[in-house]
């Protein structure tokens, strides 16, 4: 999670989809030619081939997978999906994951939104130090605070507790979210907030009525990234949630895969449950994901 050192302004700069077209003289483009496309296609197959194979295998019986692990399925049997759904108790774990995602997103947006507003539109003495700390703090390895945190959470009865996990996500995601939102909020002219203040609006009113409506693309990006991280997150979840009934999809999937390690068909179907929503959402909101994640650096 090293938002660190990169300037959020430069990082959020999304590559424009066809940026090559208007600016480059055509002469340079032709040189790419067929050779470039062949290499690019090979790279694309390397990137998504394994995931396509899993999508295929989810529809195949184990005998069929054994005979040919990479080929498309002979028929579209949904047997693996129904079987994996009940045996992996996906109804429960998906619900847990949704609670975790929603809780993390709302909490992070509120906490980071308030902080980002203070660090961009209010004169806070020492604000620069806070920004520096957020940059640096997000580079710290979790190994630094893992063990005492686990001890503390045990004392507070927050282990095996969805809320306990959500609070950790708030703390680990909020620095990134604050820095990203701050870069959005800095683009809103101070005149707007000053004018509202002269009209007698309180800071909370200004934050809600003036800043929030202008900063919503930033919030949307933060919400998407935090939701993605919470859905995919594995390290904190496996350390702090042991009760199978409370597990999120990620760690439950891991346990499921260990249990049915030879049943590739069913494991593949379970994998589709987990990656399907993410990939679909990514394809729809690609640019927002890319800009958010490249700003998030390293998580």
């Amino acid at each position: 999670m090293t938002t660190t050192v990169i300037d959020p302004e430069t990082a959020t700069r999304t590559p424009r989809p066809s940026a090559g077209t208007p600016r480059r003289p055509g002469r340079r483009q032709t040189g790419g030619g067929a050779g470039a496309y062949i290499v690019l296609i090979v790279l694309a197959l390397f990137a998504i081939g394994p995931l396509v194979a899993v999508a295929f295998n989810a529809f195949k019986s184990n005998a069929e997978i054994g005979a040919n692990p990479l080929a498309p399925p002979d028929s579209l049997s949904l047997h693996n999906f129904t079987e994996a759904w009940t045996r992996g108790d996906f109804a429960t774990t998906m619900r847990n994951s949704l609670i975790i995602c929603l809780g993390s997103v709302i909490g992070t947006c509120v906490i980071a939104g308030l902080a980002a507003y203070a660090l961009s539109h209010l004169q806070v003495p020492g604000g620069g130090v806070v920004v520096g700390y957020l940059f640096l703090g997000s580079a710290l390895p979790v190994q630094l605070f893992l063990v005492p945190l686990f001890f503390l959470w045990t004392q507070l009865h927050l282990v095996d507790n969805l809320f306990g996990l959500i609070v950790i996500y708030w703390a680990t995601d909020a620095p990134f979210a604050t820095l990203l939102l701050r870069s959005f909020l800095l683009k809103i002219p101070k005149d707007y907030t000053e004018a509202a203040r002269l009209d007698g609006a309180s800071d909370l009113q200004i934050a809600r009525r003036v800043v929030l409506p202008l900063a919503w693309p930033g919030f949307l990006t933060v919400a998407l990234i935090v939701a993605l991280w919470s859905w995919n997150e594995f390290f904190w979840a496996i350390t702090f949630i042991h009760d199978p009934k409370l597990r999120p999809v990620a760690t439950s999937f891991l346990a499921f895969q260990d249990q049915y390690s030879t049943d590739w068909g069913m494991t593949s179907a379970a994998a589709i449950f987990m990656l399907g929503p993410v990939v679909l959402l990514f394809l729809v909101l690609q640019r927002r994901f890319v800009s958010g994640l490249t700003a998030g650096g390293l998580k």
């Binding site: 040189g31 063990v147 909020a174 999937f253």
Partner: protein
């Protein structure tokens, strides 16, 4: 900030009051973030410094033992092995995805059509959960129903002490290079096209243009990526923990997985704290060097 404070002295008292009010409200807005950070990150981090000097088991009382954990770590063959694995990891993780990312980004910057599509496809493994990616590759690397079986190589890539670390590293590289390609592409697109024209007028071929225009043009991004590589090498955990648990026989153990086991399986939380703090110290040194070089203007030349 300092000038603003100095300015208040000569201004009307009303302005000073407004400023003070703004400061109070500002800190109130920052409070949730800071309190949370104190509770989850900063407080436990400080506790780690103390626990690293004790024989704490993770539960119950801790006895102060000075630097014994650190001297133990220096002499521990498991730690030596793990550090060596981190070093191997760094060499591979710092070169393979970087080269692939540069190749992908450079070719993408050359083409006109399907750029968005390719970019999306390369990026997808990065947004898929580590547990899923790991499961996919466990299947593909399995000796009975994977790629090896398809081409007639019956080898347990993850179960062999000679290939376990390399195999896990390969999977991590696979999910990471596309992310780098996208970052590099964004950076390459901000290079002034006239530089390429000037180079080709001078008779530079494609490869020479890449070396003399593209690489210098993306230098700040490159330095940042190398920094991320170093930090991620120290943080390497997820895929190893999921795919091999550091095994077989410690053949894919790195410092972070070793530390995790010490804390939660061996009940040597004090020792684990010393390992965690050492890793943090290394990270801090790297960040400090990076910031120093950045301040000196190395990056923006």
């Amino acid at each position: 900030m300092t000038t603003a404070v100095a300015g208040t002295a000569v201004r009307a008292p009303g302005a000073a009051r407004a400023r003070r009010r703004s400061a109070v409200i500002g800190w109130a807005f920052l409070a949730p973030l800071l309190v949370l950070n104190l509770l989850v990150v900063l407080g436990p981090s400080i506790a780690t410094v103390y626990y690293s000097l004790t024989d704490w088991s993770g539960l119950g009382p801790a006895k102060f033992i000075g630097l014994a954990n650190y001297t133990k770590a220096f002499a521990d063959p498991d730690v030596h092995q793990a550090v060596l694995h981190n070093a191997i990891w760094f060499v591979l993780f710092g070169s393979v995805p970087l080269a692939m990312g540069l190749l992908g980004a450079y070719l993408l910057s050359q083409i006109r059509r399907f750029q968005v599509l390719f970019r999306a496809l390369y990026f997808i493994p990065y947004v898929v959960a580590s547990v899923v990616n790991a499961a996919v590759w466990k299947m593909l690397l399995s000796p009975t129903s994977g790629l090896g079986q398809l081409v007639g190589i019956d080898h347990s890539w993850l179960g062999d002490t000679g290939t376990s670390l390399l195999s896990v590293n390969f999977v991590v590289d696979w999910h990471w290079w596309g992310f780098l390609a996208v970052i590099f592409l964004a950076s390459m697109q901000s290079i002034d096209p006239q530089l390429y024209d000037a180079a080709s007028v001078d008779g530079a071929n494609r490869w020479q243009q890449f070396l003399s225009v593209t690489l210098p043009g993306i230098r700040p991004t490159m330095i940042f990526v190398i920094l991320m590589t170093v930090i991620w090498t120290l943080k390497a955990f997820d895929y190893i923990f999921i795919m091999t648990q550091g095994g077989p026989a410690g053949s894919s153990e790195v410092v972070s997985t070793l530390m995790y086991k010490q804390a939660f399986n061996e009940y040597s939380a004090g020792y684990a704290a010393a390992l965690g703090l050492s890793m943090t110290a290394i990270t801090a040194v790297i960040l400090a060097v990076y910031q120093y070089l950045r301040k000196k203007g190395w990056e923006d030349e």
